[in-house]
Symmetry: C2
Subunit: 226 residues, 2 copies
Amino acid sequence: MPPTAERGRLNRERVLTAAVAYTDEHGLDAISMRRLAAELGVVPMALYKHVADKEALLDGMADLVLTELGPIADAGDWRSTVRARILAARELLARHRWLRRVLETRVQQTPTMLNYLDSLIAVFRRAGFSDVLTHHVMHALGSRAWGFTQELFDDPNPAPPPTPEQLAFLSQAFPNVVAMAAVAAHSDGSVIERGCDDQFEFEFALDLLLDGISVLQAAQWEPPRN
Amino acid sequence: MPPTAERGRLNRERVLTAAVAYTDEHGLDAISMRRLAAELGVVPMALYKHVADKEALLDGMADLVLTELGPIADAGDWRSTVRARILAARELLARHRWLRRVLETRVQQTPTMLNYLDSLIAVFRRAGFSDVLTHHVMHALGSRAWGFTQELFDDPNPAPPPTPEQLAFLSQAFPNVVAMAAVAAHSDGSVIERGCDDQFEFEFALDLLLDGISVLQAAQWEPPRN
DNA sequence: ACCTGAACACCGTTCAAGT
DNA sequence: ACCTGAACACCGTTCAAGT
């Protein structure tokens, strides 16, 4: 039986699609050139005809799923448009949980990535933002423009609630951390309990930034001269 | 000659110090249990008596360098205190360039990390911030509390300025990106030219957030009820 | 043109043994 | 108590060969 017989020849698209499917299911740590090859019923080196190396594979995967975003929808004013766009990107990241870590380490800016940024920048410029202000504003958004933020701790599966003894120790050693952790938005407000509403926190910070940006724009902000 | 003779026995501190020194010099990608062992003139498995595994090694390294931060200095009002604290953390990250990527992936919160956060939270609470507001504010700061942000692209060694042909192509394909890139803070404002003043961008966004936070605090912000 | 097979130079970590 | 040696189960990627 010739290799990959049932599904025909390999090509770049099939490689990338399989990689995305595998990573959606098993996570970013699980994907490797060797396992992807096995998945495709092929020897590891066969992949290298369709993808330069592992970095290029990740670039291609990111590019592929980012096409799901589609063109930007005008929501009336710049603020709602930007807000909606960013929250849509955030939903995409939720569907492909590995995408965040891939974007974080991307150096090569793929056309799809540049295209997304271009459309976002366009919203500000069309709304009359100066180029300098647009520049700073995009930096201030940072990864939030992609719909994610680096939290204080990367807590993928949060720890179980502390036992009373642990809590006693923590309250004494880090009283402020404990006090802050105790008030989790949209929780029953009882104890440390499965923490924060990430969506609320994301929107809170996003709105804080958008509010600040509005003010600067209204005041026709200009760079300090020194 | 007994192993590690000249420098005596191994211990946790020597392991961590050597790891920090090696990683400061060669970067995070270069450090491995095997290379660290070689550096210490020891067989790889010898390290495992002093450090549970590689993750624990990284935890220990982060913990060690974070002690450089020392206790928080009161700068008068909460805003200046927080600002100074965060900018000091940022300088630490500049001295240990690997620390950022380590903090990003940390799940185990070491005592030194918790201690830093506790002192920062304390500043807000002492200034009269409610616990809920403090909670959201800390989330809004996110990794910025550690002195770093996830930028749109992780561009460790920025690309050389594009050739005229490349620029022509880019201007046509991504006109807004090019326009935005052309105005780099504190550059001569000429062309794409070695981009942004990261320190300026960091402070711009930090002040944007601190301004917004001031407003919420002054207005005695309360969570929406629904 | 595309895929294979064997090999190289690495990883982190186990286990059983040495001193 | 601490370090060693050999081994296991992985990586990404090279090179030369097959069809």
